[in-house]
């Protein structure tokens, strides 16, 4: 499969411009990883593990101190191609209020394509299409501050889709939402990933959201600790707990049952699966 985003020995630290005496703390430490086109990748990690910086390195908001990041073959440190990269890789941020620019939903969605210099009639088509995809078309004339958190985030996603990107990064975009808003957002990006083949990098600290991904990357201290399918990753319960992360409840319960001598598969991810396995086990016994 084609590598879409590629990190080669990337290191990064935030430099204090006003104080050169303090040691710069490394945020990303010699990281090499590549993201396959069309994948739904979930990046997990506790606060301060470098996952937001990882996202910012993907669309050239930050440039590595050493090493290289390539997006679709373009080096992110190439200033001339900055906007080529940003139109390919869109980003949705954590706080929905701080990324909506206009006072009317459809004007906000139009902001990206307007910046790209797209023809007005074409913008209209893209905006309507993007709003339909996130199921916010009926709210196109609303004022953003009257929407719920989940709705605002979907508007932000529509604003990115209208730029027709190949990859969307969601940087903890669900962390300020209520459970319902979170489900709305996940459903929307999942759909975009499946129907449009858009690569999704989903950064979060909610384990339950990671279960849906094709691939889970766990970060700690600027390094990748675990990398694989959700089933491969979540069996490492002790390692995950050590770096301050939880595992999905069903997986943890399974592990406890196995410890007690119940013979279950260890890579169970959700309650339904666990229920089915237990029922099957009981039928076998009786």
């Amino acid at each position: 499969m084609e590598n879409y985003i590629e990190f080669k020995d990337v290191s990064f630290a935030y430099i204090d411009e006003y104080d050169s005496t303090t040691e710069n703390e490394t945020v990303i430490d010699n990281l090499s990883v590549s993201i396959t086109k069309g994948d739904f990748v979930c990046v997990l990690g506790h606060n301060g593990c470098g996952k937001s910086t990882f996202a910012k390195l993907c669309n050239a908001i930050e440039v590595p101190l050493s090493g290289k990041v390539y997006v679709d073959g373009i080096d992110t440190s190439d200033d001339d191609r900055l906007y080529d990269i940003r139109r390919k890789v869109g980003m949705v941020f954590q706080n929905p209020d701080n990324q909506i620019v206009a006072t009317i939903v459809e004007d906000d969605v139009a902001f990206g394509p307007e910046n790209l210099g797209v023809e007005p009639s074409e913008i209209r088509v893209r905006v309507d299409e993007a709003l339909r995809q996130v199921e916010m078309y009926d709210f196109r004339l609303s004022e953003p501050h009257k929407l719920s958190g989940g709705q605002k985030q979907r508007v932000a996603i529509a604003g990115i889709i209208a730029m027709q990107p190949e990859c969307i990064i969601l940087d903890e975009s669900t962390s300020m939402l209520d459970p319902r808003g979170r489900r709305e957002v996940i459903k929307t990006v999942k759909k975009l990933n499946e129907e449009q083949g858009i690569t999704v990098i989903f950064i979060t600290h909610y384990m339950d959201e990671a279960v849906e991904a094709d691939r889970v990357i766990v970060m700690d201290d600027g390094k990748i600790v675990l990398d694989g399918t959700p089933r491969d990753v979540f069996v490492h319960i002790d390692e995950l707990k050590e770096i301050g992360l939880d595992v999905p409840e069903a997986t943890e319960l399974t592990a406890m049952l196995i410890k007690e001598g119940v013979s279950l598969r260890e890579d169970i991810l959700d309650v339904e699966e666990l229920f089915d396995s237990v029922v099957k086990l009981m039928e076998e016994k009786s």
Binding site: D97, A102, N115, L116, L141
Partner: protein, 271 residues
């Protein structure tokens, strides 16, 4: 409190005035204000009043809304009217008591000033009620674009206005949250002398300013991500078109101003 903030104060509608070009509407408002100030006698004021009433009716915005916009300025109207009434000298004394003298001239001036303020508020309300804020800032950008010759960053100014309008409700919400948080910590905003009350606001202002800077930084990142590079290569989804009806409206208002001038000359000035 938060739910009834409308940004700008746009009133949804589909009337003749709603459909006018935003640039035309801004020019019309300027003409309106010019017209109001040019009135020198009651006949020309009457003509202007007819124009205002017709515009209000054409805007299809309920009269109640206009009354609402007048409410906060009633004290100012009364204040100016009273001052004008008392301090305008004149010969025709109508009533005299102690040091207060009421003259016919004073009453006329007072009536004129009150009428002018009220008419200006109504005419500018027509503009804000019938125009979406983004269209308004776009129109200002377009109208001011000749200033680019003098290196004035017209686009940036318009963008700043849009963002300011966008963040008003967000910041009001934030003020509510901070106030509640400070109250929960025992802050007292309601009692004490004026100075104490002003001092009590400081714990609200400082977090608000700090968080605004944080918001600004995040917003800048988000705008960068959406390829914002300033106004040069931008296109707009909503194109503004100056149509026939915009020209006709401007023409009608120019005729109105001519009418005011004629009435002023024909019947003389009372003010």
């Amino acid at each position: 409190m938060i739910s009834d903030i409308t940004i700008g104060q746009y009133y949804k509608g589909n009337s003749f005035i709603h459909k006018l070009d935003a640039r035309a509407k801004i020019l019309l408002t300027v003409l309106f204000i010019a017209m109001i100030f040019m009135c020198k006698n009651f006949l020309s004021l009457g003509l202007t009043f007819v124009f205002v009433v017709l515009s209000v009716l054409l805007s299809a915005v309920p009269v109640k809304m206009y009354l609402k916009s007048l409410k906060p300025i009633i004290p100012i109207v009364i204040f100016t009217a009273v001052l004008n009434m008392l301090y305008t000298g004149g010969e025709t004394v109508l009533y005299s008591f102690w040091k207060i003298t009421l003259t016919a001239e004073g009453l006329t001036t007072a009536a004129f000033f009150a009428a002018r303020i009220v008419l200006i508020i109504i005419s500018s309300s027509i503009l804000t009620y019938t125009t979406v804020p983004t269209m308004l800032t776009d129109a200002i950008e377009k109208l001011l674009s000749p200033l680019k010759v003098f290196k004035i960053p017209v686009h940036s100014l318009a963008m700043m206005m849009t963002l300011a309008l966008r963040f008003i409700p967000t910041l009001i919400e934030e003020i509510g949250k901070i106030t509640n948080a400070q109250k929960a910590r025992g802050a007292d905003f309601e009692s004490g002398k004026l100075l104490q009350r002003i001092k009590a606001i400081i714990p609200i202002i400082i977090p608000l300013v700090v968080s605004s800077f944080r918001r600004a930084a995040e917003l800048a990142d988000a705008m960068n991500c959406r390829c914002y590079t300033g106004g040069n290569t931008r296109t707009r989804m909503k194109q503004m078109k100056f149509c026939f009806k915009d020209f006709v409206s401007l023409l009608v208002f120019c005729i109105g101003i001519a009418g005011v001038v004629l009435l002023n000359i024909k019947f003389g000035a009372v003010i």
